[in-house]
Symmetry: C2
Subunit: 346 residues, 2 copies
């Protein structure tokens, strides 16, 4: 599909800085990215935010949604009480083929629940998972799940490994992705009960499983894919964010103490900013929710307009790359393995 033909729904009410950041980011995306956006949320609020932004009427439209999911709502609120929430309406538009993908920086549990409820899952899969890419000195490592599933059953974690493998092969062209299972030691006796069970599933599977890996391996480039539950993955993601920022501050603090530090720092500042960019969530924008029958991008809760714009860019890429089609095709190859494990494991 040509980029210009793609329309992305943006949950205008999702994120700590909504609706302002979501609306601005969507308008910027429509202007800079050759994409159409549909802002979904309270019409009045959206219109107020649009004032002065001068959006292109051919590329930016509004679909009204009376309800809003808050960050403290339980994920199930979307079917129990808030069927008219912006995130539900956004996925309904995708279901009706009025948009090609959805971006939300709101409550990620509710986003996942809305996606599954409205679009359904790729056949054979149990639960969706969020796939995040973390930088290594020479590329990146995909980590799945970074926050969708707080509690996972072993066969679900195994399926995340399958999804990641399929994605990396079909979308990123990595021939035989090296898959690691996040634990606290390389030995297969190390880890919690979940990890020990999943270790054996991965070991006996056709995946290129290299064994347990530790937190440090995420950034070393030793593997292409790290599998973990959404609680641990989310901690990992946010630790990286926090440490990244803190380290740059520490280096700057130390530089200030040097007699000629300021000058030296100015010389290397472009390099510094380039490295900083690689770990900046605003640049990344959002991470795909894999496993759903469609394109859903989860943005950071603290998303700025720039982050939302980049999340729209990610959604557009996913549509162009036909992620859901390739995921469904790839999963078929593993159909038998998935079935055998789904039925034998409690």
């Amino acid at each position: 599909m040509h980029p210009q033909q793609i329309t992305i729904a943006v949950d205008a009410m999702g994120g700590d800085k909504a609706p302002s950041a979501a609306v601005r980011g969507a308008v910027d995306a429509a202007r800079d990215l050759e994409v159409k956006v549909v802002l979904v949320g309270r019409e009045q609020d959206i219109e107020r935010e649009l004032e002065g932004l001068d959006p292109d009427p051919d590329k930016v439209s509004i679909v009204h949604a009376p309800d809003v999911v808050t960050m403290s709502d339980a994920p199930t609120v979307v079917f129990r009480k808030k069927r008219d929430a912006s995130i539900m309406i956004a996925f309904s538009l995708a279901k009706e083929k009025k948009v090609h993908g959805v971006v939300s920086a709101g409550n990620s549990g509710a986003t996942m629940a809305s996606a599954v409820f409205t679009l359904g899952m790729v056949p054979g899969l149990d639960r969706p998972a969020i796939a995040g890419c973390l930088p290594t000195p020479c590329g990146f490592t995909m980590v799945i799940d970074i926050g969708a599933n707080i509690k996972c059953k072993p066969h679900q974690l195994f399926q995340f490994g399958i999804m990641g493998d399929v994605y990396l092969r079909h979308i990123d062209g990595i021939k035989r992705p090296r898959v690691g299972l996040l634990s606290i030691g390389e030995e297969d006796t190390k880890g919690n009960e979940l990890v020990k069970l999943v270790h054996h599933m991965l070991k006996d599977s056709p995946l290129n499983f290299v064994g347990n890996v530790e937190g440090r391996d995420v950034f070393s480039g030793a593997v292409d894919l790290v599998v973990c539950d959404g609680f641990v993955g989310n901690v990992l993601l946010k630790v990286s964010e926090g440490l990244g920022g803190a380290l740059f501050d520490m280096i700057e603090n130390e530089v200030q103490k040097l007699p000629s530090g300021r000058q030296g720092f100015e010389t290397i500042q472009p390099a510094f900013l380039e490295a900083k960019k690689r770990i900046d969530y605003e640049e990344v924008g959002g991470a795909p929710l894999l496993g759903i029958n469609g394109v859903g991008i989860i943005g950071h809760g603290a998303s700025t307009p720039k982050a939302i714009k980049n999340a729209v860019r990610v959604a557009q890429e996913m549509v162009i790359k036909r992620v859901e089609y390739f995921l469904a095709e790839g999963i078929k190859e593993y159909e038998n393995v998935i079935k055998s494990l789904a039925f034998t494991i409690p």
Copy 2:
């Protein structure tokens, strides 16, 4: 106690680079730190490593232990099969007051089991936990547990909060430590079952509980203490290590691309190294195992001689600061809270 009067047992067989790194590190500590060390392990192996190191015979001695715990041994192996392992003998020396503390870079589960079995717990506490200090731009944040308890009950996690609070107040002089519970969102509805239960325990306690915190808050200085289970804490620790190293590499890579980068980099290199030092486990050396009736320091599995030497330094400091005495005294203040929770929670 005067530093010179302190004797520390070093598990010569513990760590990926044992016995070489452990023996060298212990000899360096005895030479540079005004401390005596006892090397515990296979006498022949230790003697071979000591050749050419010229240790001071008044400050370095050997206690033979025929058995060795490997990294893949289950923690309980020390009571079931390996009572004569180096780590068990090391803690027996502490029990007999022949040494004041123990350092091991070996299997941390087995080290914990040996410590509890031999020395016992501070009265009132259930399980020990490892307290690690992670750097912030202006100081550090203590994280407890960073690896001793893979699976925790809610009241145990609560007790880790108590231990951390007591340590920070009595040893580090922080008047009213701000305590955070590691989760994946600040809202008290966010997190896994364990976190949700512990949240309420901490909220109702006399601790200065600020609520749930996220991975990024570990490095921001927003709290003094972060409470989490040992699986998540260990992932957090190793992610920090890995990202720290990777970020410095990324900055260096980017600097190489600049025309005058090399020169600018040399100007600020001292600052760079200073910042690097702050996240370097070799400098930190080891982390205390809090809650046991004595001093036990857990070193990194990959400990170099420098790391072992610094772990001996940490053990010496813990002895000087009378950590076990203050911990026992501090825990008394919370006796009633601990008791009420230990009995009411499954």
